[in-house]
């Protein structure tokens, strides 16, 4: 519903449903057999026209996997992916509880979007660069980050590797090639193109993956990224995560196009639209895009179709702008349940094992939480030294900063 019939002089789109209304979506007609997989090494952008308007799926509504995009991946790797998704969800729940009890200032969950960064990072090589938004923390689990360190960052305590400087969820993890998250939305999208151009310049087999939200795709950075990628053809994977909502702004207000994916065709970049709650499809499109990037064929633009099942952040209340049942009736389902049910259906997993896994991860998260708060929580401290205000502003400390630093300490900074 785009208010096309409205009588106001300016067309102002709205959301499909508002509080007080009952949300109902048509069942998806997309099936895993809809779309062929073009040869990644000979595909032309125009060959992806159907892929930019349809939806690439592997997991069907019945939980089976099929179709041209069904990737080569072992059940044991799928179980690793499932475990990371469960880990992220339980981790998010614990962090939200910490936020509600004043132990963190702020938090953002990935609820409903857990598959995206986890499947896509698993499809990459270790040397590839991750340039995330605040909604892709799951990539760090794939890259082996210690959970205690993540919690310490979210608290901003003395063990926070970014020294209490950034808000929670703005992770930095250089060891995992996970580049520092920034609050201004969209900026990473065009920067990622530069990271990829540097890899190409150095002749390294490194691919850069980045994401942007449906809302942020209205920023100039989105268009800069596509245009530079189109001109210089660097090894970059450009994902638009269309989770329907940018705080209260529905995707209808982000773009007037029929899909987010097909906007990339105007830049002569191959475009795919993928079911973002389908772990296998995400893994597959990312492998495909990586193959092209690695072969020197440039960028792939991917719309990841999903739904932001939770609030934007701990400061947000989505019941003010969308029906409270909307997340439940979203046709894409739950990414964790879909992979779990598939693995159960092929005999690689059981409900009992899943419950055991949840119990084990819950204990793991609880233990990490207890360890992390030993280094301080936001309510009680201890906090990073106020000296950290002055360090790493520059590569050295110029005289004017040294003077102010001394002044702060003279006045009783800790």
């Amino acid at each position: 519903m785009n208010n096309d019939g409205c009588e106001t002089p300016i067309r102002v789109p709205s959301a499909p449903f508002r509080p007080g209304e009952s949300a109902s979506f048509e069942e998806w007609s997309y099936s895993p057999s809809d779309l062929m997989m073009p040869d990644p090494l000979s595909c032309e952008p125009k060959d992806t026209i159907p892929h930019s308007t349809g939806l690439i799926r592997v997991l069907g509504d019945d939980g089976s996997r099929s179709g041209d995009w069904d990737p080569v991946i072992s059940d044991s790797d799928l179980l690793i992916g499932l475990e990371h998704m469960v880990r992220l969800r339980i981790f998010d729940d614990r962090m939200m509880k910490m936020q509600r009890t004043g132990k963190l200032s702020f938090y953002m969950r990935s609820l409903g979007e857990e598959a995206i960064a986890i499947a896509q990072t698993m499809a990459l090589e270790k040397q590839d660069w991750i340039f995330p938004t605040y909604r892709q923390p799951g990539a760090q689990f794939v890259r082996g980050r210690d959970m205690v360190s993540m919690i310490c960052h979210c608290i901003g305590n003395v063990e926070d590797n970014v020294k209490g400087r950034q808000m929670p969820v703005h992770y930095t993890y250089r060891e995992g090639r996970y580049i520092s998250v920034s609050s201004p939305v969209g900026t990473q999208f065009s920067q990622a193109v530069g990271v990829a151009m540097a890899s190409a310049y150095k002749g390294l087999d490194e691919v850069t993956i980045t994401w942007i939200g449906d809302g942020a795709s209205a920023e100039g950075d989105y268009h800069y990224a596509l245009n530079f990628a189109s001109v210089f053809r660097p090894p970059v994977i450009l994902n638009v995560v269309n989770n329907q909502w940018a705080i209260s702004t529905h995707a209808n207000l982000a773009s007037g196009s029929s899909t987010f994916a097909d906007r990339g065709l105007a830049y002569d970049v191959p475009c795919l639209r993928v079911d973002g709650n389908d772990f296998l499809a995400l893994y597959s499109v990312t492998k495909w895009a990586r193959d092209r990037a690695s072969a020197g064929l440039g960028a792939t633009h991917i719309e990841v179709l999903t739904y932001r099942a939770g609030a934007h952040s701990s400061s947000d209340d989505p019941t003010r702008y969308r029906p409270s049942d909307e997340p439940d009736v979203w046709p894409g389902g739950d990414p964790i349940h879909r992979l779990r049910d598939h693995l159960i259906s092929v005999g690689a997993w059981t409900e009992e094992k899943h419950r055991d896994l949840e119990g084990r991860i819950d204990s793991e998260v609880m233990a990490a939480y207890k360890e992390a708060v030993k280094f301080g929580d936001l309510a009680q401290g201890p906090y990073p030294s106020s000296d950290t205000i002055f360090t790493e502003v520059y590569s050295d400390v110029p005289w004017h900063l040294q003077e102010q630093w001394d002044e702060m300490n003279r006045l009783g900074g800790d």
């Binding site: 208010n3 409205c6 102002v12 209490g164 205000i389 002055f390 502003v393």
Partner: protein
């Protein structure tokens, strides 16, 4: 203060059909700080609406609307996010009247919550006023109370020039006296009595918050309240000037006060170097040199990015302000 901003917008939407209000989350939701709550329902989705997340786009369409006879009031959700709009504001909006020989102008209002004290870290805390006071063609105001938030905003909307309106987000729900553990509301504050009807606080006039003879303290935004506490702690008798309007600024009020007290302390949240306090200090020594009993001093944010966990060591505290006042008194 949130209600005061809402009331100003409501008054102007009712009074002038050329007024439009838009920005990110501004329409249906009523703004992330609730400043536009209920306005879309009352005035219509074609007058109060959500935009794509594109600050550059928001500023550019405001430019076009203002040029073509409307009075757009757009919101940049956080002042930290104004920079994608910087080119439009600095090179386009600010210069249109001049570059077109006076044939075109664009009388738009850009509202943006600024300043720290909400655990906002690098990108929800900055106070970038001097990046706009340094741009000829823009008027710049910075409110501090419910009363001047409404009055300045109405003046901005009625101005024939583009105006940037900074609102101190820490003070949306109550004044802030420098102690993060005390969270007073506006209830009972003398500047919280806000008439429902249209009124203005003129652009270019400062507000004398406190009167005293020992020292002149100049501040704007949240720091006005922190200075009240700092003055109390210093034990000195001070003129406290809430500048309110940064461009044009009330030089006469400042000069009059400093000639009386002979001392001047300037306080702002933004970093010291090239901060707007430097302009104050330079003007004070130009105009009051022979009256000064002590060097003009500044108490400001440090020349570093704004921190998250340690923000209370970053923002000027009552203690730092009190020490600066005592220092000025000792000459």
């Amino acid at each position: 203060m949130v209600q005061a901003v809402n009331s100003a917008l409501d008054n102007m939407l009712s009074k002038d059909e050329d007024v439009l209000v838009f920005g990110e989350d501004v329409g249906y939701f009523g703004g992330v700080f609730r400043t536009t709550d209920g306005l879309q329902e009352k005035h219509g989705a074609h007058r109060v609406f959500d935009t794509p997340l594109s600050e550059g786009g928001i500023a550019a369409i405001a430019f076009g609307m203002g040029l073509n006879g409307l009075k757009p009031v757009c919101e940049i959700q956080f002042a930290d996010y104004i920079f994608p709009a910087y080119d439009q504001i600095v090179n386009e909006i600010a210069k249109l009247r001049h570059r077109s020989g006076g044939e075109f102008w664009t009388p738009i209002t850009i509202r943006t919550p600024a300043g720290g004290g909400i655990r906002g870290g690098h990108h929800h805390s900055q106070s970038p006023e001097s990046q706009f006071t340094h741009t000829p063609g823009l008027k710049v105001v910075y409110s501090s109370t419910p009363y001047n938030a409404k009055g300045l905003l109405i003046s901005a909307i009625e101005s024939e020039d583009p105006v940037i309106v900074f609102e101190p987000k820490r003070c949306y729900r109550g004044p802030f006296y420098g102690d993060p553990h005390k969270v007073p509301t506006w209830s009972g504050h003398p500047e919280a009595e806000v008439p429902d009807v249209h009124y203005t606080v003129p652009i270019g006039e400062a507000r004398l918050v406190n009167e005293g003879n020992d020292c002149t303290v100049i501040a704007w935004g949240t720091m006005v309240h922190v200075c009240e506490e700092g003055i109390r702690q210093s034990g000195a008798s001070c003129d406290l000037i809430d500048l309110q309007s940064l461009i044009p600024w009330d030089r006469e009020a400042v000069v009059r006060s400093v000639k009386k007290t002979g001392r001047c302390v300037i306080v702002h949240e933004a970093p010291k170097t090239s901060g707007y306090g430097a302009e104050m200090a330079a003007s004070v020594q130009e105009r009051c040199f022979w009256s000064l009993e002590a060097p003009v001093t500044r108490v400001t944010g440090w020349d570093t990015p704004f921190p998250h966990t340690t923000e209370w060591d970053y923002m000027p505290s009552p203690q730092r302000i009190a020490e600066a006042i005592r220092g000025a008194l000792e000459g």
